[in-house]
Each structure stands twice: as structure tokens, then as C-alpha cells.
Amino acid sequence: MLINMLNAINNALDLAMQENQDIVLLGEDVGKDGGVFRVTDGLFDKYKNRVIDTPLAEDGIIGVSIGMALAGLRPVPEIQFAGFMWLSFNQIVNHAARYRSRTRSRFSIPMVIRTPVSGGVRALEHHSESPEAPYANIGGLVIIEPSSPYDAKGLLIKALHMQDPVIFLEPTKLYRLFKQEVPENMYEIEIGKANYIAKGDDLTIITYGTMVNIVKSVAEKKQISADIIDLRTIAPLDEKTILESIKKTGKAMIVHEAPTSFGVGAEISARIAEKAIYDISAPIIRIAAPSLPYPYPGYEKFYVPNELRIGKAIEKLLKY
């Protein structure tokens, strides 16, 4: 079926809920309204008490979900926007991430937290953040960010089959941006494994989420021969695929929408520097948002990495 990412996520939730009666969705406006982006549209009518409108309290939503998971349910909380998810950081870090470890696997938290991320859609203040780095710093969490309808469905279904707390980041800009042929049945995409979007010899570009299509477009326009790697899973990181590609191309560039400093790009650069320093022939380049808070949408076109910045960086790197 030819569907966009939003329909793919809705379809994944629907199939998983059919399969597993213990799955419950909860969050602000996820019921009759189908969520502010309509991701859960129609699921309340179909599953009634398994789709729960909650009071407006993000830490409450996550804390209650943790309790549900501890007691044998499989909660899928939705946080309406990633910018409001900080309120639940305490529950995520102190409990969701460490419950398995602190009880030596006596208890686990099978839970998928869904939240829209990233900008480029002229949304209100606090509605466009890319918060993956602080979450990726927390051991025990799985951080996933799809870049296409096909990936969104397969990754979400896999997440719903896992015994771990997963943060599933949904780029708002991609919800309705394009459609793709997606299988009607259930299928899983492996977690912790990156995906080659393109294969080439001159350069490795590591990216994920909103930036994947932009990177692909620049590479095509410039007719360069590059490995384009879509992380799919941000944490735990697929270091192996990255290093494999670097050994071949000798040049690395990381592109993401989140701020540059202390970001996912920094982590990847450090790993390349530690483990493949003799394989590279050029500096590692990060193209990401500047190290400042997400601006009002009036300025966002300068903030979010664009084709111009990515193109320049590619040119620079290929000169080495």
C-alpha cells in the first residue's frame, strides 16, 4: 500500500494492538481526537478502553506507563511534542532506563514512548526540538528515529516486540511529506543496525531522521559517490557499520538537525577518531544546527541544516 509515515505508524500500532491485547496507548488527546497530528486516528473507536486520554501531565503519563509495564501491560505513551518531554525526563532516566539494571532483570520496562521531533514546519516555540542526544546518553534506553514510511512501520513493530524502553522519535516534517510502498502485513526492521541509503567510494555521510532525504538529494545533485548511512537506531549505536564504511572511503561527515555541541555527531566523531584514525585522510565534519536554542519559526530556515550547508561541506571534504 502507498502510504505516508503518519499512516505507516498508525498501521503499525493497529497491527500490534490486534496481535497483543496488552498494548495500551495513552497520552494527551490520543483518544477521540486521534492525537494532535492524527497519528492514533481511528484507534479509539476500534480499541475503546485501550486508547486512553490522560490528564495533561507528561511526567504523570510516563510514570503511570512505567507502572503499567511493571504490571504486565505494554504501554505506548505519546508525548505530544518532544519539547514537553523534559517534564518526564526524571521518570525516563531514573526509572525506565534503569529498572532492568537495578533489579538484575527481575523487572523490565517494555514501553515505547512516541513523540514528534524536529522542525521545518513553522510550528510554535517548543514544538520543533531534536532532543535525541540527552536521551542517547542514558544507558538502558533504545532511541529510534525513522526517515521513511517503510522504516517507521518496521521499526515501530520491532520496538513493540522488544522488552526494553524505547524512545521512538517521529519527525513531524516527514509525517506527510511523501508516500512510499509499504507491505500491508507485519514486518520488523532490526534495531541497532544502520541502513545504507546509497553506496559509494569517496565519502561516508552518516545521518538520520529529517536529514536523510536532504543528504540524499544533495549527493544526487552533486553526483558524488558516497556511502549514505541512515542510523535508524541512534542508541545503541551501530558503530560497526560506520567504521566499515570509513575504512573504505577514508572521509566522514555527520549530518543531523540537533545542535552540534555534545551531540550524536560528537559521539560518532569520537568513535571514528578512537578506532579509525589511521583510515581517515580528512577532518571529520559535523553539519548540524548551531549550538543554540531552537529559534522561532521565522528564523528556522537558517537554523536547520540545509542543502547549501551540506553541499559546501561535501565540496570541502572531497578536496582532501
Binding site: 504523570g60 509495564a69 533489579t103 538484575r104
Partner: protein
């Protein structure tokens, strides 16, 4: 026009007073003298384990410890009111509830020795491990209670929080969710008057902590938390109410006779006269008076019981001290699978002998 649209009040319950006199009208019919003796024994046991922990900590044999001295009636009274299938969600101080639920004492000491292995609660005990971040457990308890309702079990969830914890957002959020979802939950405020060095009067300007449930639309009540029978009754009633989709908030008024944890010195911030006044109201004195009056107890029986308890405690300590930690376990329980990068880190420790103590 002005009209009154809402009015509320809070009841306070006490069944056994400081002198061991019982309010017969309130006494639950299942509470006979044998049951009261059992309550007494469980409190003595808890107090003995507590004293042992203080001593082990001072000898460096366990880590920082949060004692329960003075608060045992709140914990034992509520624990005895629970049915076996009811579910216990603690904060970090409800050790006596664990003892009541037959949590293996050896595991308790392994936990106090600061090893995660001590939190491996046996499958047949309906309890979750100690929670340190204050008030966060209230939300878990609500989620667990939601699952009971969803799965149509007959279990009620009992969770605990301190007086300081009632100032946290999660406490309010939890009560609010509980009220809306109408889940089978009883929230017990173990009000021991002190949050480390900050007295109850500095936590809130509200007259009672119990009344905090009113805004969430749930029933609330106060009880003498040093009266084990009073606590038992109030919790028993609350469990029945919770089964009927009516969550309850209970404020048990007790007193922390000891330190907050072994890391602080209360003489620095609280008046010893206050402590001495509360010592007259602690849970054991009144029970002892009652039992002696009824000729159910004497010094000989006390000695024999203490001897037996000491033996049990010492055996558990001995077992816990023979526990062999495995540092590799840190790496192996982070995810349901082993990520490559974590495996690399583990291997690096292993190959370089960094795991050797």
C-alpha cells in the same frame, strides 16, 4: 450571588491510645489479643533488624542506611491489613513491610550492602523494590493499579510516601490520575515529621497532609501512625474502598525517632525535647502496656523472643556476607539484548583484568 459550592473535612482515627487503652467500638472484630501480640512481635522484629543495620553500618559492613525506628506501626499495621494478592510499592523506608511480606532477610541485607542483586524480589511476593527518587513511585503504583483494573484482578496497590514527598509534583499527578482512572490504590503518607532537616511545618502551609487528596477528588483520612491497630483498621477500610474503584489517601502521623539516614546528625537541626516527647508515644510502649495488663506478656517471653529473632537476623547477615558479587552483571542487565558497544566495553574490562577486586 455567592454560594458555598464545596466543603470538606478530615477525620482522625486512633484505636489504641498512648497508655494501651482500646476504643472497643472501633476495634475491628478480627483483631483479638493474639493478633495484637502478633503485631507486637512483628514490630519488635523490625526494630531489631533496624538496630542491626545501624550497627552494621557503623562498622562499615553495609552502606548508607535509612532507619525505620519509631515508624514501625505505620508499616506493620498497613502490611497486616493487606491481602496476599495486594501489591506493595514502597519508597526507600518501608523495610518492615518487606519483612511482613516474608521478603528473604538475606536479600534485604544484600540490598543494604549496596548490591542490586538484593532487589530480586521472589516471584511469589507481590512487591516492587525500594524507590529512592522521592514521590516517583506514586505514579508507578497508579500504573500498576491501572493494570489490575484492566486485567480484572482482585488486587489493590498500596504505596507509601513521606511527608516531604507530598511537596513533589509526582505526588499530585499520581493522586490526580488515580482519581480520574478510579483505580484500586491506597496511598499512605508516612508522615514522620521530618524530611532530613526540614520539618513538616516547612513543607506546606496546609493544616493536614491528608487534605491534599481532596483536590484530586479522592477520599482522605488521618490516623495515629504509632497506633498499629488504628493503622490496620484505616488501611483495611481503604483497601475495601479501593476495590470499589475509590482510591484513598491516608496520612499516618508518626515520628522519625532516629536519623534520616546514617549520613546525618539530627541534633544539628532538631530539639531533643521534641524527640523525647515523641518517645513516649512510640508504637511499642502502648502495645507492651496492653499485653502486660492482659497477662499475655512478660520479661521471660520477651527475652526468649529476642533470642530467637537475633538468631534469625544473624543467620541472614552471615548469608548476605557470603554473597559473591559479579561485576560483569553490571553489563549484562542493561538491555534485553547485548549491544555491540556495551559488549566491547565489557570485554575491555575483562581482558585487562579490570574486574579483579
Amino acid at each position: 450571588m455567592i454560594k458555598k459550592v464545596f466543603e470538606a473535612s478530615i477525620n482522625y482515627v486512633q484505636i489504641m491510645d498512648n497508655d494501651g487503652n482500646i476504643d472497643e467500638q472501633l476495634l475491628p472484630k478480627e483483631i483479638d489479643n493474639q493478633k495484637i501480640l502478633e503485631m507486637y512481635k512483628q514490630i519488635v522484629f523490625a526494630r531489631m533488624v533496624d538496630a542491626k543495620c545501624m550497627s552494621l553500618q557503623r562498622q562499615g559492613r553495609i552502606a548508607t542506611y535509612a532507619p525505620i525506628y519509631g515508624e514501625e506501626a505505620t508499616q506493620i499495621g498497613s502490611a497486616m491489613a493487606m491481602n496476599e494478592n495486594d501489591i506493595f510499592v514502597p519508597n526507600f523506608r518501608q523495610h518492615a513491610v518487606f519483612f511482613n511480606r516474608k521478603f528473604p532477610l538475606e536479600l534485604f541485607f544484600i540490598y543494604e550492602k549496596a548490591f542490586e542483586e538484593g532487589t530480586k524480589i521472589p516471584e511469589n511476593i507481590n512487591a516492587y523494590p525500594w524507590i529512592v527518587p522521592v514521590s516517583t513511585q506514586i505514579l508507578h503504583a497508579v500504573g500498576i493499579a491501572y493494570a489490575q483494573k484492566f486485567k480484572n484482578t482482585d488486587s489493590v496497590v498500596l504505596t507509601y510516601i513521606g511527608d516531604g514527598g507530598t511537596s513533589e509534583g509526582n505526588f499530585y499527578e499520581g493522586m490526580n490520575f488515580a482519581g480520574i482512572f478510579k483505580v484500586p490504590i491506597v496511598i499512605i503518607i508516612e508522615n514522620n515529621q521530618w524530611a532530613i532537616s526540614v520539618p513538616r511545618s516547612k513543607q506546606t502551609n496546609a493544616e493536614t497532609l491528608a487534605q491534599k487528596g481532596i483536590a484530586a477528588g479522592i477520599d482522605c483520612i488521618q490516623v495515629d501512625g504509632n497506633d498499629v491497630i488504628g493503622v490496620y483498621k484505616v488501611v483495611k477500610d481503604a483497601i475495601a474502598s479501593a476495590k470499589n474503584s475509590k482510591p484513598v489517601l491516608i496520612e499516618a502521623i508518626t515520628y522519625r525517632l532516629g536519623v534520616h539516614t546514617t549520613s546525618d546528625d539530627p541534633t544539628k537541626y532538631r530539639d531533643e525535647n521534641e524527640v523525647n516527647e515523641w518517645k513516649l508515644k512510640e508504637p511499642l510502649i502502648r502495645l507492651n502496656k496492653f499485653l502486660v495488663k492482659k497477662q499475655l506478656w512478660d520479661n521471660e517471653k520477651q527475652k526468649a523472643m529476642e533470642l530467637e529473632f537475633s538468631k534469625t537476623i544473624d543467620e541472614a547477615v552471615e548469608k548476605a556476607e557470603s554473597f559473591k558479587p559479579d561485576p560483569k552483571s553490571m553489563f549484562e542487565h542493561v538491555y534485553s539484548f547485548m549491544p555491540d558497544i556495551l559488549k566491547q566495553e565489557e570485554d575491555e574490562f575483562e581482558m585487562n583484568n579490570f574486574f579483579v577486586d
